[in-house]
Amino acid sequence: MKKEGSAISLPLDDVTIVAIEQAVAAPLATRNLADLGARVIKVERIDEGDFSRGYDHAVHGTGAHFVWLNRGKESIAIDLKAPQGRAVVRRLVERADVFVQNLGPGVAERLGFGAQELRSEHPELIVACISGFGSGGPMEHRYVR
């Protein structure tokens, strides 16, 4: 399936990705996948969204990092602290091929988006979890911003 307005097909044209992502690591990963044709649904916080939007105001008021890393994505702004908000994202994930997140340590699990839980309900789902300082090391519980 070609993206609307696209004259050529791309390798990931039929792939849908739901990403709870911010800053650089996950947005860069999904930006590359979007460039290859994937549909990327970016889940953002309702208050300020991906905080890289505010790293600076270099591009018409939006952070240069955000512009660099988020072209071609769809943005849904939703409160994941609300059960109804989480349910919306779960339904989007049910229809997706890939789930990506780079939330802080343990946050995805607390919100019900842990890899094991998602895979138990959606065995075909590819789950990618990106952490700031890896796992198993002395800094694994540190947050990155």
Binding site: R53, N70, R71, S75, I76, D79, V88
Partner: protein
Amino acid sequence: MGDVPALGQHTHALLVESGMDAATVDDTVKRGIALQAERFPPGPTE
């Protein structure tokens, strides 16, 4: 290469895609659970 999205630019459409009816979408936005970008109001088919 697509455009860079505004915060919540596609919220309304994605709420509908998730299975919500129009009344529930409106209620979800009114209650502050979801945000639709003001610069991009939902289209007539959403």
